[in-house]
């Protein structure tokens, strides 16, 4: 247990870049902790989290969570600076609201050449649940997430238990706003 914990502690500052910091020109937001990640046994994910390739056709199954009160979806990429900046907030909200029936779906929209960087970033961010990697027809994928979405990143969506779109935002989202949306959703759910 100590090793994964060390990864999280060592990397707690890594993923937080602010919007007015100049965007990195090269893919992959984090350099410092990669040596820690490299020291781990290859192939074994210490946090037990897989990164699973998906296509547009897989999204219906992924987004429909009848046992969930709400499904929080965040589409991100290592090359997208505001995506990287907002990830700690998305994960914090995800952890806080999981016990209240909110399930979180993270989908990386990185290029196939960045898949390793995506894995590394997730690991360093302490993601301990299975997340997804977009493949296949991009337009079909965008439509399958939501026809309302233009394809802009970052993108955050909240779906109800029947898969109905309740909220979405294109552009960076903050912890406070995410929390308020979920509180509103859960209180609506509770009052039904």
């Amino acid at each position: 247990m100590l090793l994964p914990l060390a990864v999280i502690v060592a990397c707690s500052a890594c993923a937080s870049s602010t919007p007015d910091v100049e965007a990195p020109d090269r893919p992959g937001p984090v350099a410092k902790s990669s040596s820690v990640a490299a020291a781990m046994a290859p192939g074994a994910d210490p946090l037990g989290a897989e990164l699973v390739d998906i296509e547009a056709a897989d999204l219906r199954m992924i987004l429909q969570r009848p046992s969930a009160k709400a499904v929080l979806v965040n589409v991100w990429a290592t090359w997208c600076e505001p995506c990287v900046a907002e990830m700690p907030a998305v994960l914090q909200v995800s952890r806080e609201y999981r016990p209240r029936g909110v399930e979180t779906v993270l989908i990386s929209s990185d290029f196939s050449t960045q898949r390793t960087a995506a894995r590394e970033f997730l690991r360093e961010s302490g993601v301990d649940f299975t997340t997804y990697f977009k493949t296949g027809d991009e337009m079909a994928f965008i439509e399958a997430v939501s026809p309302e979405w233009s394809g802009a990143l970052p993108a955050t969506f909240v779906f109800g238990p029947e898969g109905q779109l309740q909220f979405y935002k294109e552009g960076q989202i903050g912890y406070g706003d995410l929390k308020e949306v979920l509180e509103l959703m859960l209180s609506e759910e509770g009052s039904r």
């Binding site: 050449t113 779109l165 552009g171």
Partner: protein, 203 residues
């Protein structure tokens, strides 16, 4: 300010459909270019408006920028298409709608350097208030708006279906649209989508 307003969502709509933050309504097919007379500073040192950039066959407006990895993945193709079709009677204009305070790589000096590197034969301009992008309902870079000879929007969306691998493009959406407009034909696929970076609107 209530939650809905703070999140940029129409009042009472929060638990229906959400926001696209600061973007305006998407420009519908058949509409003319909004804010067409707004003068924008260009990388060639002059000022130009969409109306001035208009071509006899049609006008191609591309919102793009320096920093966004998707814009960068497509920028050679944008340069090639823009240069090629500006010789075939189309007006071509690239517009950077981003706030350089949010993205320093998107300031005018950097834009000039990029225009030179790419050998752009058309203006690459600054949307100084991001209002042109707002008026178009543009949400990301890159994002294409193609108008026909009657100045009506006939194509909106992506350059093609593969940012990552130019050699693996199956659907060259923009090229097909340009060819259709040049031939006076209906654009086969008028609205497309692709991933891009959300526009860093100036406040």
């Amino acid at each position: 300010m209530n939650l809905a307003a703070r999140l940029g969502v129409a009042a009472g709509v929060l638990l229906a459909v959400g926001s696209r933050a600061e973007a305006g309504d998407r420009l519908a097919l058949g509409k003319k270019a909004p804010m067409a007379t707004v003068m924008m500073e260009s990388t060639d040192g002059k000022k130009v408006s969409i109306a001035q950039a208009k071509g006899a066959k049609g006008t191609l407006v591309i919102f793009t920028c320096n920093h966004c990895p998707w814009a960068k993945a497509w920028e050679k193709r944008v340069a090639e298409l823009g240069n090629e079709w500006s010789k075939k009677g189309f007006g071509v204009l690239a517009i950077n709608p981003n706030d350089p305070k949010a993205q320093p790589e998107d300031n005018l000096d950097e834009m000039k350097a990029r225009a030179k590197t790419l050998g752009l034969a058309f203006p690459y301009t600054v949307d100084a208030t991001s209002d042109v992008a707002r008026a178009f309902g543009a949400t990301k870079t890159p994002e294409v708006f193609l108008f026909d000879a009657k100045d009506e929007l006939v194509y909106h969306g992506a350059i093609d279906d593969n940012a990552e691998k130019p050699e693996a493009v199956k659907k060259p959406y923009l090229r097909d649209a340009l060819a259709a407009v040049a031939a006076g034909q209906k654009v086969p696929q008028a609205e497309t989508k692709a991933i891009g970076c959300s526009i860093k609107f100036r406040s």
